[in-house]
Symmetry: D2
C-alpha cells in the first residue's frame, strides 16, 4: 500500500488486534515506502495493564502477551542480504505517566529462569512515575519512604527488530541478531538503527517505549510507557549487517546480544573492528588496536533472555568518513 | 616517617629495586600521612622495555615482571574494617610517547589462557603513540597503512590497590576486591578511589598508567606510559567497603571484578543498591528500582584475569547528599 | 489417524519432503497413539550430504537445512501442562558408516558466532567412520597419520523435542526447555525422555542420530549417522515438566540448557532438587543436601547455541521410589 | 630430611600449629623423598569445629581459618618446569562421622559473593553423617523428615596443590593451575595427581577430605571428614604440566579451573587434545576429533571461587600407550 498506516487513527479494539508478540511468524500490517514518514504509536510492555502501584505484573498480565509490538511492517525493496535503516525522528510519551516494577525471577540482581537458584522471589512491586514532557522530567517516588527524585526524560524504544533468520519465530522478549528486545538507551530520537534483512520486506516491528532507562536495566523493567513515534526507513542494498548497528550524529555503534555478557561484548567489539576496517581501510590488527583505545562500552541490558552490549565510537575522531552510504544523514533531513 | 617519600628523587637503580609485582607479600617502602601530598612516578606496564614497534612484549619482557607497581605505602591509621580514600590530584605522562601492543593469548577478542581454544595466537604487534601534553593529544599511527588519528589525551591509572584479605598475595595483573588491575578510564585525575582495608596500613600500591584507554580495553593493552602522579590519602574509619568505589565531583561509582562479566555487573550494581540505601535511606527494593533507572554502566576491562564493570550514578540527581563523610571534597581541596 | 506412520515405508522423495528444521511452526505428519510402537528412521545432521573425507559441510550443505528432524508427530491426548514420555526402544545405525567433521566457527574449542574473536577459522575436516553393528564398534581413522582406534558403538539421538512455548519456532540446531538439540549421550535406547507439553498434541520431532559422542561434543559434531529407531510414547497428565528429564532403569536425570554453562548446571541441579523433594517428600534444604552428595554431572554439549548439562541420580539409592507414575517401566515392557 | 614426617605422631597442639591456609607463602614442614611413603592425616574443612547439627559454620568458624591443609612438603628434586606426581595409596576417614552444611552465600544454587544478588541467604543448616568404613557406607539423615539414605563411602581429597606461579599466595579455598581446591571425586585412592612445579621443592599441601561428594558439589560442602592418608610422590623431570592432570589404572584425566564454567571445560578439553597429540603422535585436528568422541566430562565443582571441570578418557581405548614415563604404574606398585 502506498499510504503508510497511521495506527493512532485506528480505534482501540482494532489496534489491539494488530499487536504482535513475536518477530517472525506474523503477516505484515502495512507496507512502508522508503523515505516516507511513519507516525504511529506503541503500547507499553505490559500492554497498559499495569497502571497503579497495586497492579502486579504477575497478577494482571498474561505471560503470553507481554511486550506487544507495533507491526510488522513490510519495507518496500528490502531483500535478504540488505540492511534496513530505521531512523527515529521522534519518540514521545503518549501519556503523562510511566510504570516500572519488579517481576518475580526476572532481572539482573535476582535468581532467574536461567540463573536457577533455590531462593524465593524478591518482592514484586510497582512504581508509577509522573512524566512531565514540558519540563523534560520523570519523577521517581519511593514506595517505602517519602523520597522523590526528578530525573531527565530520555525516551527510547527498548525493542526494534525484523524477522529472524532460519525460519525462526522469536518472542518479543528476546534480543538477537535480528534486533528485538535489545533495551539500549541509545535507541532514542535522532538514532538510525541498522538491521540485517532476513526475509523479503524485512518485517519491521518495534515497541517497548521507555521514558528513561539505566544502562543494564538491572531490575528488568525501565520506566515503561506508551509512545507516539515517528520514523522513516531506507534500505542499504547489498550491505550485510550481521548484528544491529546504530548511528547518531555523533557516534557509530555496534551491538551484540549473547550470554555470558563477555560474549555480547565480544560480538559488539568484533563488529566494530570489522566496521572500522571497512570505513578506514585498516588492517584487522590496526582496527583492533584503534577500537581498544577509542571504544565506549555502555551495557544495554543484563536482564533479558540474552544480554546486550553496545560498542560506541565517536565520529568526530574520523572527520569526513561516511558509513552506510550516508543513509543516516539522508534520513535525518527529510 | 613524617616526610612522604619522593620517589622521583631516587636514582633509577634504587627505584627499580623498589618496584613490586604483587598486592600483598611485600614490605612498605614508605609511610603516608593522611592529607599530605605524595608526588611520585610509575613505570609503564612493560617497565619501559617496549619502546619501538620492533619490541615485542613476549620477547623483551619477562612474564614474571609485568605491570610494576609503585609502593606499597603504609597509610598511617588505616586498619582492617576501614576504608582508604586515595585522591588523584594529577596524573601526567612522564614522557612524550606511549605504547600499546597485542600480546599472544591476551585480550578480549582472542583465545586466551582461560578461554582456551585451539587457534594460533593473533599476530603480536607494537604501536608507538606520540603524546602531546600541550595539545592534549595522543596520536594513533596505523602500522599497515598511512592512517593517523589524533585522540584526546585522558591519563589514568589502570592499577590501584591494597593488600588482599585472607593472607593472599595477588599478581599486579589481576583485579579484585582489593582493587588491583581494574583498568577503568574513570581512574583519572580528580577521582577519589575508595578501597577496603584488609591489613594494618592498607599497603597501597599503584601503577599501570594509560595515556588513554577504550572502555573494555579490548586488545588487552591501553596507551601505556610512565606517569608523574600526585595523590593524597585519607582513612574513613569504621566504614567497610567490600569492593572498590570511586567518587568524582560528578559521579558516585561502584566496581565489580569477576567472571563471567555479568557477575562483575551484578557486584557493581548490588554495591550501588547498597550504597544508595545508605545515602538516601531507602528500602532495598526502592534502591534497586532507582539504580535500574539512573545507572550508567561503562565496562572497564574484558581482558584481565577477571573482568571489571563500573556502575556510575550522577550526583546531581541527589543534591546535598554526601558520601563517605565528605572525604572526596576534603581531599580535592587541600 | 489410528495406524502410526511407518516412515521407512515411504519412498525417499516423499520422505525428504517431510523433514523439518524447526521445533514449532510445522504441521504434524502423523498422529501417535499412546503405547503404540513407532518405527521410523532419521537422517543424519547433514541430511546425508557429507559422505566422504572430501565433503566439507560448509561446501555441500545449505545452512538453512541442517539437522533435519523426523516429525512432528501429534501425540493423542497431550495437552499443555502435561508431560510427554518418549521411550526409545531401539536406536540402530541405518548404514555401515558415520561421519564427523569440524565446521568453521562451530564447536567448544574454537571462536564461534557468540564467542566472536578475530581468529581465522580452524581447518574444516571430515572424518568417515566405519560402523560395525555386529561387533558393536565405531572405527576412528586419523586423517594425518595411520592411527585407527576402535571405539564402542553407543547409538543415541542428539535431538528430541516438542513445539516450544510462547508461539516460538526454534531451529533444530538449538536446545531449550522444549528439548531440541540437547546432544547428550544419555538419550540412548532404554531411556525415556520426559518433555513438557506446550501445545495440543505436543508435536514431537527427533533426529540427529549419533553412533557415539563424547560428553561435551567438543568439536561440535559427533559420529553422525542415519538411524532406524523404534519408540513409544505416553502422556503423564497434569504433570508439568519445566525442563526435559530422562529416566532409565538405573537413573533419574534432569537437564538444563543455557549459557553460561554454570546456568545449565544450575537449572539441571535445581530441577533435581525439586524432583527429589517430590519423590522423597523432602524439604528443599534436605533435597539440596542430598543432591550435593549423590549427583553425577556429565556435560552434554558445549557447542550448540546454548549448552546442556545433565544431573543424574542413581535410582538404587532409593529402592521402591517410582517417578512419573511409573510410565518408564510401563513403556519399556510393551 | 630422610625420614618422612609422620604427622599423626605429633601431638594435637603442634599439629594445629602446622596447618596452613594458603598455597604459597609458607615454609615447608618436612621434606619428602621420591618414592617413600608419607602417612599423615588431614583435618576436615572446618578444622573439626562443626560436629553437631547445632554447629553452624558461620558461627563456629573463623573465615580466615577454613580448609586447613597439611603441609607444605618440600619434594626433593622438584624444580620449576618439572611435574610433581602425587599418588594416593590410601585415603581413609579418621573418625566415624562426617559433616556437611549449607553456608550463607556459598554454593551453586544460591546467590554468592560473585553472583551478587539481592536475596537473603538460604538457611544455614548442618547435617551429620555416620560413616561406616566396614560396610563402606555414609548415612544421610534428613533434618526435616525421617528419611535416611545409606550411600556408598567414596573417600577423596578435595584439595591438593603446590605453590602457585608469579609469586602469588592463594587461599586454600580456591582452585587453579597449581591445583588447590579442585573438589573432584576423581581424587580418590588409586589416583595419581600430576601438578606443574612452580618453585623449588614444589611445596605440596593437601586436605579437605570428603567421605563422598556429588559431581559439582552443588551445596558447596561435601561429606567432610578428617582423613588418614598415605601417599607417595615422584618427579617427572622436564615435563611441563600447565594444569593438573590425574591418572588412574583406567583413565587419563585433565582438569581446568575457571569461570565461566565453559572456560573450565575449554581448558580441560584443550589440555586433553594436547595430551593425546603427544601420547598418540596425532595432529591437532585429529586429536580434537578423537577427544570429541571419547571424552567423559564430569563436573568437579561449581561452588568455589572458580569452577573445575574434568575431562576423562579411558586408557583401554589405547592399549600399550604410557603417559608421564609410566610414573603412575611405578608409584602404585611400591
Amino acid at each position: 500500500m502506498l499510504r503508510p498506516l497511521m495506527l493512532h487513527e485506528i480505534d482501540e479494539e482494532a489496534r489491539a488486534s494488530s499487536l504482535v508478540y513475536t518477530f517472525g511468524g506474523v503477516e505484515p500490517v502495512a507496507t512502508l515506502l522508503r523515505g516516507t514518514d511513519l507516525r504511529t504509536s506503541t503500547l507499553d510492555c505490559f500492554a497498559g495493564l499495569v497502571r497503579r502501584a497495586e497492579d502486579l505484573p504477575s497478577v494482571v498480565c498474561d505471560p503470553r502477551y507481554l511486550n506487544p509490538q507495533t507491526g510488522p511492517f513490510y519495507v518496500e525493496g528490502a531483500r535478504p542480504g540488505d540492511t534496513l535503516a530505521v531512523h527515529f525522528a521522534s519518540i514521545e510519551p503518549r501519556h503523562d505517566w510511566g510504570v516500572s516494577s519488579t517481576v518475580p525471577f526476572f532481572g539482573a540482581l535476582t535468581a532467574s529462569r536461567d540463573t536457577a537458584l533455590l531462593h524465593e522471589a524478591l518482592p514484586e512491586r510497582t512504581w508509577i512515575y509522573d512524566l512531565d514532557s514540558a519540563e523534560g522530567q520523570v519523577h521517581f517516588r519511593a514506595l517505602d519512604s517519602g523520597l522523590t527524585v526528578p530525573l531527565p526524560l530520555d525516551p527510547m524504544h527498548g525493542t526494534v527488530g525484523v524477522a529472524p533468520p532460519l525460519g525462526e519465530v522469536r518472542s518479543s522478549l528476546t534480543p538477537g541478531s535480528w534486533g528485538g528486545n535489545m533495551d539500549t538507551p541509545e535507541m532514542r530520537a535522532g538514532a538510525t538503527c541498522y538491521l540485517g534483512v532476513n526475509v523479503e520486506g524485512a518485517l519491521l516491528s518495534f515497541g517497548d517505549g521507555h521514558a528513561r532507562q539505566g544502562e543494564g536495566e538491572s531490575c528488568g523493567v525501565a520506566v515503561e510507557c506508551a509512545m507516539d513515534t515517528t520514523l522513516r526507513v531506507d534500505v542499504v542494498s547489498g550491505v550485510v549487517t550481521p548484528w544491529p548497528r546504530i548511528e547518531t550524529d555523533d557516534h557509530w555503534m555496534t551491538t551484540g546480544s549473547a550470554k555470558p555478557l563477555e560474549d555480547a561484548f565480544r560480538i559488539a567489539h568484533t563488529q566494530m573492528v570489522r566496521w572500522l576496517e571497512d570505513l578506514l581501510d585498516l588492517s584487522t590488527m590496526d582496527a583492533y588496536q584503534l577500537v581498544a583505545q577509542v571504544a565506549l562500552t555502555p551495557v544495554a541490558n543484563v536482564c533479558d533472555t540474552v544480554y546486550t552490549v553496545v560498542c560506541k565510537v565517536p565520529k568526530a575522531f574520523f572527520p569526513g568518513v561516511v558509513a552506510m552510504h550516508g543513509v543516516h544523514d539522508a534520513l535525518r533531513r527529510p
